[in-house]
Subunit: 229 residues, 2 copies
DNA sequence: ATTACTACTAAACGAGTAC
DNA sequence: TGTACTCGTTTAGTAGTAA
């Protein structure tokens, strides 16, 4: 979520805000800040210099202390952290969960469904990519993964509307943005055909995942699934 | 606000929450967490061990990764940070401001007012301490301090109700909890007598501040004034 | 008073590796 | 695979002090 060297800066920013540097200028000596943060005066001085260089604060050094005001960029950082926390603390479901499953070859129906123009248009519009005509089937085995899959079902999803043509009816498809193997962006869709049951999920992506990630049947694949904000 | 070694732990906790460890158990490998946080696998492992020791998370190591669940204590930390940030981001005024003034000797009226039983009872009830019968007068001089004092006037204050006896009327007194010289807890009250004007504030505390802090006329005193939540 | 540089110390980090 | 130990390296932190 944040570059690791920025952690300390973010904390300094919070401390400064608590000392009144948030939408006004506050006179804060490095010694005072240091005591508040449990660090040395020298380190506090360095932090302030770094925050100024990063454009997070405005700083004017005077013989009686430093005049500090948190800038737009710094305020944006506070807002960002606040927004993340609000979601974490208040939401009933997590921002993401991970699933792991084993690759297996299906009956090749995935391509048939995905390629349906009415579905395809919605994938492009709602997921932001044109799916490769085929799905990667993943069999979930561990209790943990099955449990997670069940939970996921209760979270809000992107809904791809169904339709009917002269021959038959195509149902609603629920999907979630996902990252496959922590590398490729795509989406998880609940098994399009009910006979797979709850232990199978399918993955779609802009390109052929088997080729892109060099996957064969039996390989374990890790998927990070994102819920909707 | 937080012990400095806990900063990184808090961040790890946020990351874990984003990975779904917030009110449920998530399977998170140290390698995966490391990549998310931009640190090494070894460091991620160490962080998890430290978080477990701190009682912030429950951790079960399995051959496929660690099962992580944020515990009550960890959740409390997230809540605490969230609450601080919410106040900072949403409040129209800062949690505290600092003022600096020069000690001077008044006409000794402070003691007269403070000792009035009707006032005194309210100080005890609303500030939580029995004030030493006397005030420390501080003359504000710098533009910064005068400006800050003006701002303070607009923030909500603890109100000490006035009263009248057979001879005269005693007005409403507005005050704020404060820390004097970053050591002693007391309160700032706006000058009880109008003839001092806006450039003077008075400080009360459980004990005599002149003695306790060895203050003489002309000494500079720094006061951290807390606004109300 | 302050701030902040330089030189040093302490702590955190990560590579290698055992399990 | 995974986790987590040891240990050398890097980085962060502080003391002393100049400005």
């Amino acid at each position: 979520m944040t570059g690791k060297s920025e952690w300390r800066h973010l904390y300094t920013l919070i401390e400064l805000a608590e000392l009144g540097a948030h939408k006004r200028t506050a006179k804060i000596s490095t010694e005072f800040l240091a005591e508040k943060m449990g660090i040395s005066q020298q380190t506090a001085s360095r932090y302030l210099i770094e925050l100024e260089r990063a454009g997070w604060i405005q700083r004017t050094v005077t013989p009686e202390g430093s005049l500090i005001k948190i800038e737009r960029a710094g305020d944006a950082e506070l807002q960002r952290l606040y927004a993340s926390l609000r979601f974490l603390v208040e939401a009933a479901y997590p921002p993401s969960v991970t699933l792991e499953g084993t690759v297996f070859t299906g009956l090749g129906e995935g391509a048939y469904y995905i390629a349906k123009e009415y579905y395809r248009k919605q994938f492009i519009e709602k997921l932001g990519f044109d799916p490769y005509p085929g799905t990667l089937n993943l069999k979930l085995t561990s209790d943990y993964d099955l449990k997670t899959r069940m939970e996921l079902e209760a979270y809000p999803a992107i809904e791809i509307q169904g339709f009917k043509n002269e021959n038959r009816t195509f149902g609603l498809v629920k999907c979630y943005p996902a990252t496959i193997e922590n590398k490729v962006k795509g989406a998880l869709i609940f098994a399009l055909r009910s006979h797979y049951g709850a232990s199978v999920v399918e993955i779609i992506a802009p390109a052929c995942l088997r080729k892109q990630l060099n996957l064969k049947d039996g390989h374990k694949v890790k998927v990070e699934v994102f819920t909707l904000p």
